[in-house]
Every structure is written in C-alpha cells, then in structure tokens.
Amino acid sequence: MATVTPTAAPAATRLGPLFAGREFLWGALAVLLVLLVAIVGPWLAQDPAATTLDRRLLPPFSDGHWLGTDALGRDLWARIVTGLEWSIAVAVASTAIAALIGTVLALLAAERAGPVRTLVLQTVDAFLSFPGLVVAIAVIATVGHGYLPLVLTLGGLSWPVFARVIYAEASSLMQRDYVLAARLAGSSRTRILAGHVLPGVAPTLLVMLAFHLADMLVAESALSFLGLGAPLGEPSLGNMLAESRQYLYVAPWLMFVPACAIVLVVVSANLLGDGLTERLRGRARRAP
C-alpha cells in the first residue's frame, strides 16, 4: 500500500562528501606520501650508516647528498627516510595498541554498570592524572630500549585517551532505543556491541586514530631525543634532533631537516583528522 520514497541521498552519492572537504583530501594525500616515503625510501636511499669522513657537514644540495651530510659524513636524506620508517613504525604500532586496549575496555565498561565499569573508569582516571611522558621515561629506563618495549610502553600508557572518549560515546549509544530493541529481540551482548555500538563509535575512532598517530610520533621523537627511543646507531627523527644540537651554529640544516619532517607528519595527520571530523559530521547532519 505505501510506497517507499527515498528521503535521503541515494547510496551512490555517499562517497561524494568524502572529497568535498579540502582538508581531508590534503591530509590523506600527505599522510599517504609520508607512508610511501617511510616504506619505500629506505630501499632507494644510500646506506644511512655509511660514513665518509672527508665529506662531513656538507650543506643541502651538495653533490650526491641533496640534503647534505652530518658530522660523520652520513647522507642526511638516507637517515631521514630511515628515521621516518622507524618513527612511523613506532607511532602506528603504539596507536594500534592504544586503540585496541582503549576501545575494548570502553565497550566492556559501557555495556553495563558493574565492577568492570568501575575498574576501567578508575584506571583511566588514574592514568590520565600522571604526566604520560614522565612515566614513559621511567618505564623505559627500567625495561630497556628497543622497538617492542617502546611500542608497548607508548601504547600501554596512552590507551586511556581512547577509553575515555569511546566510553562516553558508547554509553550514549547504549541508551538508544535501537539497542533496547535489539535486547528485546533477544540479541546477545556481543552481538549488540559488535553490531550496533562498535559501528556507532567507528567514526570517532577513526578521527582519534589520526590525531593519536601524531601524538605518538611526537612522543617517540621526544623519547629518542632523550636517548630513550631508538637504539644507538639506529637513526630516528628524535635522536637526529638530539645529535644536531652540537652543530647548531655550523650546520643548522642538521636540525631543520628532522624538525621539518616531524612538523610535516604531525600536520598531515592533524589535517586528516580534521578532515575526517568535518566529513563525518556532514554525514551525521544528513542522516539524523
């Protein structure tokens, strides 16, 4: 009897708004470019550890070293791309760990009141009341250097950021009538969490991933700068900065190059996050 008249945009145009926001476009392009450089760069560049003592502290655009060389005559471009690979690998893995722990605990806590919720929320509050970097320094100083300790420490200390936001969002979703309707239909908790709540928090999660990636990159650089990140000899954006301090007046590009790389990655990720927010908010407006 009734005919179905679509009242919202048909599915074919759903991808349209994706490219409507310039921020998202540039952010996504820049992040892709950075990832490409980090993954492919080290294969194409020279050996980042090869020292040529007669070609020390060459300025950028020198013959054979377009970004110049450092105090040991190592190619700066090779070191930057290798450092980028390391830094990004740390940022991506620790973001993934933080998001996974944070989201799972947030969903469990949001699902119902009880000891799990209390425990998670108290833990989140406790974690967020400590200065993260200071704790990270202490932990790494105890357990030691290396990729795995670094990633586990950063992820294990920053998950409450995800837990807090996702919990707020998920518990508001749990109050929705369609979640009640699913309970009434006999759906199990896991089905409700996986089918209704997780897809509901996904947009927020996506945005947070972008911003968190930038935060983790900065944290990694800070730790490496202090000598607590990348192992000795392994280039990273942070320890390159640290090494550049001695030559600040003779070879300022040693500082500018890694600093610019950090800024570039952080700005790209934030641009992507902003673009995602804009785009997802636009979609929420269309489908209230």
Partner: protein, 331 residues
C-alpha cells in the same frame, strides 16, 4: 471476566529506582491481565509508570516485587533458557520509530536480527521470512535494502512492527505506538495493529496517554496514576461511566471535535506530583475535585465497582455522575 485463562497475568508488580540514593517507586503494586486475542489499554500521563510496566514485563527492569505469568508459566521464576523461550512470544514495539531502528542497518538486516538472535532457520529461510514480514506490514520489497533515514516515520513504524512480528509473538506490547506520527499516518498504523490482531489472534497491550485511541482499539482499560492502578474495567464502562475522578478528568480533557456549545470540563488543578514524593493517603487527592479528609489519610484499595470494573477511590462514581455533557461529547 470470562473463564479463559489469561495469556499474561501480572500480579502486584513493583519496580523501584534509586536516583541519587532516594527511593522512587515507579511501579507500586500494579496487577493486570491480558486474555488471548484481547486488547488491553494501559493509560496514564508521563510519570505514571506505564512505560516502566512495559519494560518490567519484558524483563528489562528488574522487579522489586510481584510476579509475571505468561501462558500459565511463571516468567519471573523461570530459568535462563525457558525464560528466553517465553519472552520470545512477548514482543515490545517502542514509541519512537526514529530512535528504535539503527540508522546504519538495512531493513533486511533489522528484520532478520530477531531470527538470527534466536537461531531460527537457515539464512535462506530467514530471507524468505523477512520478505513475508514486509508484505504483512504493507511495505514493498524494494524497502529491503534501504536504511531507516531513507524511510518516513510511518514506514519506520511499520518496520518496527514487522520486527516485533518476526518471532510470531502471542502478545504484542505497543508503547505509544503512534504518538510520534502525523495524524494521517497514525490511522494507518492503528489499523495495521488491529489487522495483525484480527488475522493472527495476537493479544495487544497498548500503552498510551490518548483516551480517544483507547476507546477506539481496546476491549479493556487500565488507568494508572503515579505508579498505581486507579481504575480498570471494560472500555465502554470506563469511558461512559468513569468511577475514578482522575479517569473522568482524563476523558473530559479529550478535545471534543466540535467547537463552542455548553461543554463542561473537569479542569484538574496542578500537575502530577513527583513520584519521588508521592502524597500521603490517596495519591490523587491534591488534585482531586472531590477529595475529603479521608482521602488525605487513607489510601483507597482497588475494589470492585459498579459496572464490573474496579476502582481505587473512596467515593467512586461521584465525579463521573456529574453532568459531563456526555451527549455533546459522545453523540
């Protein structure tokens, strides 16, 4: 009441919330029965606890007291598996069709969800059942791949009804099923519910604030005020000869679809008090036009009244007997 065994028999239901440590008796000793194939209306204003009764019957709110029997079996005492099986044959339709459907899910997925949750049939059988359900609620098959934001309010409520019908319930509880819809669409949904009841023999428990709707759909009516039943009886008895002054006032508040004329209305002073601080004695006495000293002290029990129903009033029928200009209203 007939000799038929009630399908649903709720006895002395109590639901208590504790907001901020204080005790709120949202439902305070409510009993109601629904016979097979019968439509019962549960009427009340906001804060009366009528929706809480629905959620308590469905097991969403834990009972602080009382018992629910369904198909002769005690749901409250039943164990996990039996309880799930019993609850499967009671389904609730929620008020707001904009909130009760996940905007990200397709109609096909929404309708299949109860079948999947109860592990009914193969995927092919479920798909066939979903198409059948869509036909039952009068929607075309091309609605299957749509998502709720692409449907109108009336179409969404049809989907919500179809979802409730998926498991072939014997009792449908509908909480304000049409109050979020436009008048012309309300009639479609009311007719659909009545049609479902007629063709499938489903019992209906309609929860509403709308006396005109009650009059139109129900066989029996239960009137609630501040967590308690104040009057119950056959719908014609209650609407023509209300025994409780609150029921009489509710009926008189229905806008007569005629203007002017010498109409007499019972205007109640004030508003329903907070269920956190219910008045002593009869809970209705601060607003009651015929309250006397006794009403301020003694809470009236629900007792059989003239006309076959029951009412919780010390002076039943007194206000209903006032000239309500009934000929004007009901002629």
């Amino acid at each position: 009441m007939t000799g038929r065994e009630p399908l649903l028999d709720a006895d002395d239901l109590r639901v208590t919330f504790r907001p901020g440590g204080r005790e709120l008796r949202a439902v305070d000793g409510v009993s109601l029965q629904v016979l097979p194939g019968e439509t019962v209306a549960l009427v009340g204003e906001s804060g009366s606890g009528k929706s809480t009764v629905a959620l308590a019957l469905m097991g969403v709110h834990p009972l602080a007291g009382g018992r629910v029997r369904f198909e002769g079996r005690d749901v409250t005492a039943a164990g996990g598996a039996e309880r799930k099986a019993l609850r499967r044959r009671m389904q609730l339709i929620l008020q707001d069709p904009y909130g009760s459907l996940d905007p990200r899910w397709s109609v096909a997925r929404i309708l299949a969800e109860p079948l999947v949750a109860h592990d009914v049939g193969t995927p092919e059988e479920r798909a066939a059942r979903v198409r059948e359900l869509l036909g039952q609620v009068g929607l075309p098959l091309d609605a299957l791949e749509r998502r709720p934001p692409q449907l109108s309010g009336g179409q969404r409520q049809r989907i919500a009804i179809a979802r409730a019908l998926a498991l072939e319930p014997r009792l449908l509880i509908a909480d304000e099923p049409v109050s979020a819809l436009d008048v012309s669409i309300q009639a479609q949904i009311v007719n659909l519910l009545l049609d479902v009841q007629r063709t499938r023999g489903t019992s209906l428990l309609v929860i509403t604030h709308d006396i005109a709707l009650v009059h139109h759909v129900a066989h029996r009516v239960v009137v609630m005020y501040l967590g308690r039943v104040v009057e119950t009886g056959a719908v014609d008895d209650v609407i023509l000869r209300p025994q409780h002054p609150y029921t009489a006032a509710l009926i008189s508040a229905v806008p007569a679809r005629r203007a002017g004329g010498a109409r007499q209305r019972i205007l109640l002073p004030g508003e329903p008090p907070s269920p956190l601080e219910p008045p002593a004695g009869c809970r209705f006495h601060p607003r009651c036009p015929i309250a006397r000293d006794r009403c301020r002290i003694e809470s009236p029990p629900l007792a059989p009244a003239a006309g076959g129903g029951a009412t919780a009033c010390h002076f039943p029928g007194e206000l209903g007997a006032l000239p309500l200009a009934r000929d004007e209203r009901l002629a």
